[in-house]
């Protein structure tokens, strides 16, 4: 789905969201109950400029519209990979963006992420995965790396990776694996406005993804291990 199709379905009453250079910004929803929208389109690879622009968008909402919910729309192939981005410290720009989302949530903004295309690596970490809840639409694809590239880097035969990915959700890119692992709370189907309203109505809470992963059988150790460490030293 394209950004405009998604936006139309999310905000049947209209929205002011514009796409420029792969970045989305604007508001949607009825007067008095506006939702701030920001995010990426066309698979944008997030570099230093776009990370800073996204952070600026979050900062503006905190400053100008206290309490206004934020919807992060994500279609991004990950961080931009270039020498210049590394020279300038892209990791620091992405951390800044993540911290901005954290501050927004702590200031009382609900933050909902919706993956409507791709989500991968740096940009997923800094924007989408910082939300209170992460949702996706059918056809969304979340990933770290495709299997052939993974085979090259890890020197594990591709057949073996393919075989393992049939048995476990940890390897293959896609939507379903991330649902099972708890990384995606739910899959939204049209009309999206209802799903958004329901998400916004839920109270914010702590990071529940590890618990979801355990319930859904995708990540059986993340929650118990974290809890054991949280609990006390083994004696």
């Amino acid at each position: 789905m394209t950004a405009s199709e998604i936006l139309a379905s999310l905000f049947p009453a209209g929205h002011s969201v514009r796409e420029e250079g792969g970045l989305l910004a604007g508001t949607g929803g009825a007067p008095g109950a506006e939702v701030a929208v920001l995010g990426t389109a066309l698979g944008l690879e997030v570099g230093v400029e776009s990370a800073l622009a996204l952070a600026a968008g979050v900062l503006d909402v905190i400053r100008l519209h206290p309490g206004r919910p934020i919807l992060a729309l994500l279609d991004s192939r990950g961080q931009r990979m270039s020498r210049r981005d590394e020279v300038l410290g892209l990791n620091g720009y992405l951390a800044h963006l993540a911290e901005a989302v954290e501050v927004a949530r702590r200031a009382g903004h609900r933050v909902i992420a919706l993956v409507y295309g791709e989500a991968s690596s740096g940009s997923a970490l800094a924007l989408g995965f910082m939300a209170d809840e992460v949702h996706a639409v059918p056809g969304a694809r979340l990933s770290v790396m495709n299997l052939p590239a993974m085979a090259r880097v890890t020197k594990i035969p591709l057949e073996r990776l393919e075989e393992a990915s049939r048995a476990s959700p940890v390897l293959a890119p896609g939507l379903e694996p991330y649902v099972r692992l708890g990384g995606v709370e739910s899959v939204w189907r049209p009309p999206l406005a209802e799903a958004l309203a329901a998400a916004l109505a839920r109270p914010a809470g702590p990071d529940r993804r590890a618990a979801r992963g355990e319930e859904r059988g995708g990540r059986l150790l993340a929650r118990p291990v974290a809890d054991r460490v949280r609990g006390g030293p083994a004696r």
């Binding site: 590394e86 620091g92 970490l125 880097v153 990384g183």
Partner: protein, 303 residues
């Protein structure tokens, strides 16, 4: 004899294992590990790929003393799968940070040495890194300082490069490296013209401690010496960065200024020249002390 004082008597941080780093950075004998190797909490995903596991999954977490104060500490073992984050490894780090929120030690030290997400557990690893990021920000928001120490052989890349910058402060050695897209990945995906990963001088001036310090991405630059890292950790423990709008605004202005001022630079040496460092080409050969003096006025970032 000129050699006497140049003999490297220092105990290298880079060469030490994660366990030895922890033992040397914390007060002697004070470290108590949580989920130690004898608990055998290992990765459930490696067997399917015929890969050996490690009894601690490459992440050592626990509590100890630093200058007599109670701190929590975690260390990644770079030699095991490049210190990469898998389900268990990440859960140990996230669990420690959330324990810190509850028990409120004087701080949390993260001895990072990681290529980022463990590809053998790709999706679970990515989520684990996200959970660690959230846990760092959450611990800081609750008032517990988190300090990253980067000086291992793998550096700190991928999502862990973001985690490092989510901390209150970062100490690095010149040998340490920090970034998001590491040199090998950059060369593989974008070609050798973008970055020649075998050109070590280029790799280190792009990702290395000196450049990060000059940019303000690292708060302390130290010798590759466990004692120097310990001193930096002690020093940075009191250095909290508020998680709030004020600090965020200040950081935003700094990052915007960096982009405005240095955004046209494609290479670190251009950055150093434009930042006003005299004789920028000399920076890589300077020892830490000389380097700090040479860049004192040109350094960007907080003091």
């Amino acid at each position: 004899m000129t050699g006497v004082e140049s003999r490297p008597a220092r105990a290298s941080f880079r060469e030490a294992t994660a366990r030895r780093r922890l033992a040397a950075v914390l007060d002697p004998g004070s470290f108590r590990e949580i989920l130690p190797p004898s608990e055998r909490v290992t990765s459930p995903h490696l067997a399917a790929l015929d890969q050996p596991v490690a009894f601690d999954d490459g992440a050592i977490v626990g509590e100890g003393l630093l200058g007599g104060q109670k701190v929590f500490a975690a260390a990644q073992e770079g030699a095991f799968l490049g210190g990469a984050v898998g389900e268990v490894h990440g859960a140990k780090l996230a669990g420690l940070l959330s324990r810190a929120e509850r028990e409120r030690p004087a701080g949390v030290l993260l001895l990072l040495d990681s290529g980022g997400v463990r590809l053998q557990e790709a999706n679970a690893g990515l989520l684990a890194v996200s959970e660690v990021m959230r846990a760092v920000l959450s611990a800081r928001s609750s008032g517990v300082p988190v300090v990253a120490l980067i000086g291992g052989g793998w550096g700190c890349f991928g999502g862990m490069g973001i985690v490092a910058r989510c901390c209150d402060a970062v100490a690095m050695s010149e040998e340490g490296r920090l970034g998001i897209t590491g040199p090998e990945v950059l060369e593989t995906t974008k070609g050798v013209e973008e970055l020649d990963a075998s050109d070590r001088a280029l790799v280190w001036r792009t990702y290395g401690g000196k450049h990060r310090y000059l940019l303000g991405e690292a708060d302390r630059l130290v010798e590759d010496d466990v004692a120097a890292f310990r001193a930096a950790a002690l020093d940075l423990l009191g250095r909290r960065r508020e998680v709030g709008l004020g600090a965020l605004d200040a950081a935003h202005r700094r990052l915007a200024a960096r982009l405005f001022e240095l955004g046209a630079c494609a290479d670190a040496t251009e950055v150093w020249a434009r930042a006003g460092v005299p004789e920028p080409a000399r920076l890589p050969v300077l020892e830490v002390g000389e380097f700090l003096r040479a860049v004192a006025s040109a350094r960007r970032g907080e003091p």
